[in-house]
Structure formats: C-alpha cells, structure tokens
Assembly symmetry: C2
Homo-oligomer: 377 residues x 2
C-alpha cells in the first residue's frame, strides 16, 4: 500500500491490522486481571508454538535479551559449546564468552553444523550447548533434534535460539530435549518488535546460578509468572503484550499445523522461482540440516551490485534483505515469515525477477509460474 | 470513559490518543532513516527534559533495565553509597549489590535522605552514589543538587533514577553533576510502558568497565546511536519508539517550563484537597527535600481499609495507588503525571472525597473548592 513498505525481511514482518489495533487501547494497570489474562493467553499459545509443557515467560526486550537471559541464568561459569554457522550463532558464542567458558564449534556460514566436533566438545566436558535453530543470516535450518540428543547424552544443557522458527516452523522443545528456547515477537509470530519469550525446562531450573543479572533474572520472571493474575517482575511493555495476545489468537485460529504448512509452502514457492531463474541457493545442506522455511538466502549473481538489486525492489515498495557482515553483497535474502501469503510472495518474486533482468543477469526466465504452482497446490 | 479506567497512578499513566495512534503504523525496518529520525527526535526532546548536553540512549526495557545499565556499566566492582528512603532506592541498592560493593545510606521511607551519612560514606571511599530523584513509593522529592554536589566533591559518579521526574518536574542533569540519569516512558513522558532512556556523562564514559552485560551494554548503544541514521544495537520495540516520538512532540509543543508548571499545579491542587480534608501528607520533608510534584502520598486515616477506599474509587472508574511493601494499607497515593489536567484531577479528588466520607472518616469537608482554586490560578 502507498506509504507502507512491504517488509519481506527475516523480521521485522508486516503486522496484521487487528494486532496493531490492539495497541491503541488506553493504558491499563499491569498489576491486574486484564494484563494477567493477556499474558496468560500469550503463554498458552506460545507453549504450543514451542512444543513444550515447560513454563514460558515473556521479557520486554529483543530476542537478544532472551538469549542473554538463557546463558546468564543457566550458563555462568559453565564450559559452553557454541554451535556457529552464521551471525546469530556468533552472537550466542559472544554471550557465552561473557558469562562462561564458551568455545565455538565453527562451520562456515551456511554450511551444516559440525556434529562430530560437538560430540568431541561434549566428551571434553562441555556442560551447555548453544545453537540457533533457524540461522537467518545464512538461510539454513539446523538439526535441533540431533544436537539435543547429543547434549542430553552428555547431560549438558541445550539452549536453542528459536527466534525465527518458533511460530512458523516445527519446533518440538520437549521432544528435542531443549532446556531453554527463545522466540522473538517480530518474526514468525507476526507481532511488533520488542518482546522475547523464553521456555525453561525443569532440568535447567535445577542448574540456575546464584549470580544472576537483575532485569533478566529468570527466577524473578518465574515467581511473577506464577502469581494469579500473572505478572512480570518489572513494568512490561503493555501495548506489545496486548498486540502479542492478538497475534497469538490469530495463531490459535489458524492452527499450528496449518501455519507450519503455510510457511513451508511460501518458502518452497520462493525456492521454485530461484531455481527457475537459474540462481543458486546459498546454504549447503546435508541429511539433517535443511533450507530455512522462513527465509531464503540466495547467492548474488555475478556482477550484480546489492544496491542495484535491492534498490530496484525497494522502489517497487518492497524490502528484502542483503547479506550481513562478510556476506554483504554476496547474497540476498527473502523473508517469508509471519502473516504473509501468496500475494506478498508473488509481488516480491515479480519485483526481484524484474530487478535481476534489469541488472542484466543472463538467462533469467520467468519463475512466477513455478512459484504460483507451488502456492496453488 | 466507559471501558477505560482513568489511571491516576505513579505510572503507568493515560496515553494521549495521538500517541497511541502512532503505534498503529505498519512495521518499519529499524535499520533505516524513518526509525533513525524517530529515535533522534525522541533524543532531542529528552535532552531538554534531562537538562543535559550528554548523549541519550533509549533501551527497549523498563526503567529497571535503565537502572541496571547504569550500575552494571559504570559501577561494577565499585564501592557504592546507595541512598534509600523508599522502594526504588532499595531497588538501586539491590542492583548495586549484584554488581558492586553497595552499602545503603538508609532513612525511613518518606523521610529526608541522610546527607551527613552520605558525606561519611564518601569520606570512606564510596566511588558511586545512587539516588532516586522522585521516590514514588513515599511521595518525596529528594535533593539531587545537594547529593550531586557531595558526590562531585569526592569525585564519585552520581547515578540518578529520574524515572518519575524527568519530563514532569525540573531536572538539571548537567547543573546537578549527574553522571547517569534514567527515565521511564510510562511516567511523566505520557508514553506507553516499555522504554527507558539513559543520559551518560563524559566522566562516566571514562570509567566504563570491561565486564559489561550484553543486552544492556551501553557502549553498544553509544556506537549504534552515533550511526546515521541512528540505530539501536539490538532490535528495538519499534511501536514504542514511534509512540515516544509523538509523546516528545507533544512535550515540545507544550514547552518544558509550562509542563513543569502544570505538574506542580496539579500536585498542589491535590495537596490543597488533602489539607482541606484534614488528612496528613505521608512524607516528612526538610529544607532540601520536598513533596513530589508528580505523586501525592497521603496517610491513610485511622480505621479505613485500603480496599474500601481504593475499591470505592475504582468503582467510579478511577485507579489510585496504595502503599507498597510495609506501607500497604498505611498510605494511599494519587499520581498526577504525564498528560493529566484539571478534569482528571477534579474527578479523582471528588471520588476520593466520596470514598473517605463513605468510609466514615470524620471531619471531611469539601476539598474540591480548594483544589479548583489552585487549578484556576
């Protein structure tokens, strides 16, 4: 729409009207039943998104605050194996190094995680494993189940960044032995940016450290979360909770299975177009990792400037993402998370296709039919 | 209005329609000129509210996150004198104890801070002083200028919680030698809850510690804040920034001097009614401390149950605050911060007066005339 950019990024994502409308409400007291009900409604649906019976707490802060809470409350002083194959894996490694003795189990960005090296690190005494489930910087979906199995075998805690998978792709925290899982509000949940939710296992609680941060002290969130009505320990970002309650109501209405199927279909449509254009996917996947179902990372064709490609798309009212850090100019990324449907995907693919042709990429044939066929299935 | 409670609390406060409307905007990319402009607009007005030329950063989190950021970035390992005469002073003391060697300089809640004991603590080597400017738990305004003078004399850093004074009452960070000052969005700024802003002096920057938290690492906020367009290091709560930009636009339109005068008039009107009712103010003030100009704390008349008083007021659609912790049932508090004007004050005083009479408090004469006279001046 005019004066609105269509954000096809790996977050933030377009927020449905009724979710934004929820923020218009006049201020309410956050120590009372109305707020407590909204909080509880969010948590009820989030448990389903996480695939867990564990308690879930909502922090007023970004996904990074949730990641720090996980490591600071349960990993301080621990030997940590930080799985890295992209930017957010590096962030978890950095946080691990602030609080514990974290060593990166490195793979090149966008290549499969090194499970043998992880096994060795665990043999070597790692007490916590951190992993990004859906690594948006590289468009790869990492094997949470396999990593969780290894971690549990060695009795290590498993911290999983599910910031961009929870609510969009299949996440099974309990089945996968995830001890602390994190999601951000502005990704697959299709709510505004500003909240993180954290699901914590009983095993993790048994290992909570004494020297905890204050604002991110999860023991305080647990205590307040168990009050009736539910509360947060410090003043919450009330409008964002009200928005998230509406966003989770939409998730409940759609149903998790249907929502996951929709996300998979959208990203499959993007991949179909990429293939028809003769371009290459950026990630290298193996039997246990996969292409992300919420963001597609594509190798930039030779000789095309990032600014030319994304600039053309932007002039058509659509924002897609470039590469981060050393991948700047080497890849482009199309997000397909949250509330987006066929119209947004088709518009984006048409704009990207036009930009590729305009940039003189040879052999770009129309990929819209292939994409539409997937969407129509 | 129907279905809306009038919140006359020491925050959260009613949020003007145009501020809430700003949140309705479709999601925008937080790495771009639109967000950067909104952030810069907020900061421009906040500097005026703080009375500072120092840089100001906005954290997506509550005032408590801002308080922790101040202490964690500049006070870790330091000897800290924590001035306490209410609940939030205690909170700063607790945070000080998590990061440094904090000792409380205690006064009873609602009594003047002990400046002699502070001088002794500084003589004894305290390197940081923490103080709550407007202690809402007790309705007292603490002497920031005097505390700042003492701290500077001994070359100690001065951290001031201005969560409930900045934007409503006079705050002069630079003149008062405040090194780190904090404000919350949902108080005098009349924006929704969920943001904290922090003003940091060059003196503080010279003492930044190496072992900093991650999400609250102020060096990261400084680095991102100096980019053009301005950014935050991690995903910000975008709708709350847009709301705060609108709230600060309102502050600019009103003008700080007029805004301070209005807050003083509103609280003076409340005090006039309290006096006419024959009730007593809770705080004991001296030559350098004063009654808060943003929240009025009143002793609960003998024999009146908190639930009876506030319950009656609530049935009339208005929420006022009770006492916290050991003051539960012993005081009640009327907030007058943010956007409130004469109608809200008169409605609240009429409801409280009715509740007092209904509860059988003897000798309650009509205080509305006295209040209206102040408002009409």
């Amino acid at each position: 729409m005019e004066n609105e950019r269509l954000l096809m990024l790996p977050g933030p994502v377009p927020v449905p009207e009724r979710v934004r409308q929820a923020m218009m409400r006049q201020a309410i007291n956050h120590r009372g039943p109305e707020f407590g009900t909204a909080y509880a409604e969010c948590v009820g649906v989030l448990k389903e998104c996480f695939g867990t019976k564990n308690e879930v707490y909502i922090i007023s802060g970004s996904g990074t605050a949730g990641m720090e809470a996980a490591v600071a409350n349960f990993g301080r002083g621990k030997k940590i194996a930080s799985m890295v194959n992209g930017k957010f894996g590096e962030r978890l490694r950095d946080i691990g190094q602030r609080y514990g003795d974290a060593t990166a189990v490195d793979s090149a960005w966008g290549t499969p995680l090194d499970l043998e090296a992880l096994a060795a690190a665990l043999e070597d005494g790692a007490e916590m494993v951190t992993m990004v489930h859906n690594e948006t910087s590289a468009g790869i979906l990492n094997p949470a189940k396999e990593v969780g199995k290894l971690a549990r075998k060695h009795d290590a805690l498993f911290v999983m960044d599910g910031v961009t998978s929870v609510g969009g792709d299949e996440v099974l925290v309990d089945d996968w032995n995830v001890d602390v899982a994190i999601v951000g509000s502005q990704k697959c949940l299709a709510a505004p940016a500003g909240l993180a939710a954290v699901a914590v296992s009983e095993r993790a609680w048994e290992q909570i450290v004494d020297d905890r941060p204050y604002y991110l002290d999860l023991a305080a969130y647990r205590k307040s979360g168990r009050k009736s009505p539910m509360e947060t320990p410090y003043t919450p970002a009330v409008p964002l909770f009200l928005a998230l309650a509406e966003a989770t109501a939409i998730i409940r209405e759609e149903g998790m299975a249907a929502r996951i199927a929709r996300h998979r279909k959208m990203s499959a449509a993007v991949r179909a177009a990429v293939s028809a254009w003769g371009l290459s996917m950026f990630p290298q996947i193996d039997a246990v990792s996969a292409y992300s179902n919420t963001v597609t990372a594509v190798k930039m064709p030779d000789g095309v400037a990032d600014s030319a490609l994304r600039g053309t798309v932007k002039r058509l009212g659509i924002e897609i993402a470039g590469g981060q850090d050393h991948l700047k100019g080497r890849i482009f990324r199309i997000g397909s998370m949250g509330a987006v449907g066929a119209p947004e995907i088709l518009a984006t693919l048409a704009a990207v296709q036009y930009a590729l042709k305009k940039a003189g990429v040879p052999g770009v044939t129309c990929g819209l039919g292939a994409a539409a066929e997937v969407l129509d299935a």
